[in-house]
């Protein structure tokens, strides 16, 4: 691109500008536009990095005071200045594991239906429906969980479980409605659309030739899925599941409303109330006084941040590796 600024004029500023534009091979307006764009991008970049830095700086007091014991300490005790997120980590892991246990088979099942079994006319409305499920705000899931699901669990669900499956350690203990079970169930519903969306997307990339080859061999529809579709898309589905796990680990409002927010002695019971890392933040920030307390709340956030960064990183890596593979051709 030719630079059009007259360099012969004796204007110093203009000459300087000309030198700069010449160097970049751009006209001044373009340089300005690129500069503005770059500025905003750098602001975004600064925000992303800023979040990480701020979290680390402000949680530094507890990191240095408690070290790793912060992860296992049972108390969140401002009076004795002892802080730990042991119960919260336990609650986070249990509820997320519960959600994944049910959401993965259901989600993959739904996407199998959407991709392979669904009548053509239903395909788009159903997919849109699933997207809507993803768009419902989490506080509404929370309201539903607290006002509908928890009372139902208390009066019908949990007594039933205790009567018929009470020999299992999961279904023993005091029945309260709110608790790990309710949180797990709400999380299951909340992560479902994410798993469905990703697995569906991935299954759609399976080449028709793979399906047709299986059908030509006389396979049933399930065998086509079992031996052609699932092996081809398992990495992408795994990526979707990890993405969903990240969502489940970090979900705040719905869980805060239904988990009970009372740390009990960790046991195998799903009926017990508990905490998750995010619900600790939502519950404690109001009382947090500057010092260790504030720092402890922020370190809980830092842990959530790191966990979700790792899960997201893994998920994107898996999903992007799959996209590369499928463009290279058919994998036999």
């Amino acid at each position: 691109m030719q630079q059009q600024v007259p360099v012969t004029r004796g204007n110093v500023i203009q000459r300087r500008l000309a030198r700069v534009t010449e160097r970049f091979g751009l006209r001044p307006t373009d340089l300005l536009f690129r500069g503005i764009t770059m500025f905003f991008v750098l602001v975004v970049l600064a925000v992303v990095i800023g979040v990480a830095i701020v979290l680390v700086i402000y949680s530094w007091p507890t990191i240095t005071t408690f070290g790793m014991s912060f992860l296992t300490n049972q108390a969140f005790d401002p009076v004795h200045n002892i802080f730990g997120v042991g119960p919260a980590i336990f609650g986070t892991l249990v509820t997320s594991a519960f959600a994944m246990l049910f959401a993965v088979p259901i989600g993959v099942g739904v996407s199998i239906f959407l991709v392979d079994f669904c009548p053509r006319a239903l395909r788009i409305p159903l997919a849109f429906f699933v997207d809507l499920l993803a768009a419902v705000p989490s506080v509404i899931f929370g309201l539903f969980g607290f006002l509908v699901l928890a009372p139902w669990l208390q009066h019908t669900g949990e007594p039933w479980l205790q009567e018929y499956l009470g020999f299992l350690p999961f279904f023993q203990g005091q029945i309260q409605g709110v608790g790990l079970l309710a949180a797990g169930m709400i999380l299951t519903i909340m992560v479902l659309p994410l798993i469905i969306a990703v697995s569906r997307e991935v299954m759609l990339t399976v080449p028709a030739s793979q399906r047709e080859a299986m059908l030509a061999l006389g396979a049933t529809r399930w065998e086509v899925i079992r031996y052609a579709v699932l092996p081809f898309s398992r990495i992408g589905i795994l990526g979707g599941c990890i993405l969903a796990l990240g969502r489940a680990l970090g979900e705040t409002m719905a869980v805060t409303l239904v988990i009970g927010n009372q740390a009990t002695k960790p046991s195998a019971s799903l009926f017990q109330t508990g905490y998750t890392l995010s619900s600790v933040i939502a519950n404690q920030f109001g009382e947090a006084t500057p010092g260790l307390f504030l720092s402890a709340v922020i370190e809980a956030g830092l842990i959530v941040f790191i966990i979700t960064l790792i899960t997201n990183f893994l998920a994107r890596l898996l999903i992007s590796s799959l996209e590369l593979k499928s463009t290279k051709g058919v994998r036999v």
């Binding site: 307006t29 800023g50 979040v51 701020v54 788009i124 989490s138 929370g142 969502r247 941040f305 979700t308």
Partner: protein, 300 residues
Amino acid sequence: MSTTTSMRKGTTSNPFWPRQSSHEIRRQLSNGLVIGLSVLFVLFAVGVLVYLILYVTLQGIPNLNLNFFTKLPTANGEPGGGMGQSVQGTLIMVGVASIFGIVLGLFTAIYLSEFGRGPLANGIRFLVDLLNGVPTIIFGLFAWVLIVVPQQTFSGIAGAMALAIIMIPIVARTSEDVLRLVPNELREASLALGATEAHTILRVVVPAALRGIISGIVLSMARIAGETAPLLMTAFGTTFWNVDLTQPMDALTLRIFNFTLSPYQAQINLAYTGSFVLIAIILIASFAVRWATGGFKRKF
């Protein structure tokens, strides 16, 4: 496909499959089982959504009237009243957040689709994607530490900032996707006519992708209107009218959260009505975007 299956079914008169081996029956059974299961799962997912929306609608509609939008909540337990200040607060904070979110998101998208090459652009794209996956309460925490704690008061502006950060990656990635769909010939034609790069992008490329960009913006606004966690620790909520961004501000989601936990039936009813309004807003936005992008006919 259908002929294969019907042959496989091996009914009595099929000469190719005179009788079914146990292996064959097992294959057919597992096939049927999986189809049945997947239908069951679909019914579950659809059923949950329908039940949730219907329940909230049926509980919310009886209290839906003009008062909901114009009145403050009444004192504890008294019937009537509304969530006027929440609607107001949501509008203000989403509006302020949108200004920041749209500008930053859009310029990031322009950078990623028009200028960004090499490792820096890939790195930024990756970070933006990661930003999208971070739980929103983290951004609330960020705004809380940086704005609320030093100022020693919850404020609408802190809430708006948290929402803006949530909005950036959504706007950036959806806009980038549609900007990439703009054919290169348009850019080349514009540059060949002597237009500057800035002129080309702002007057040719962005307008060509405008419909998709606006769709992304609408969806992201609907999304932040439904956020609670980041507002809880920044805007905090109030039961009074407030347009002052430096003071605690209410939001629909915050009021729903507070009234869900309320011991009074009148407030719980208002929480249902608020949820219904929120779901309605989001449904309308989703439908509008689908319709605008032709999503009901083809995959966008």
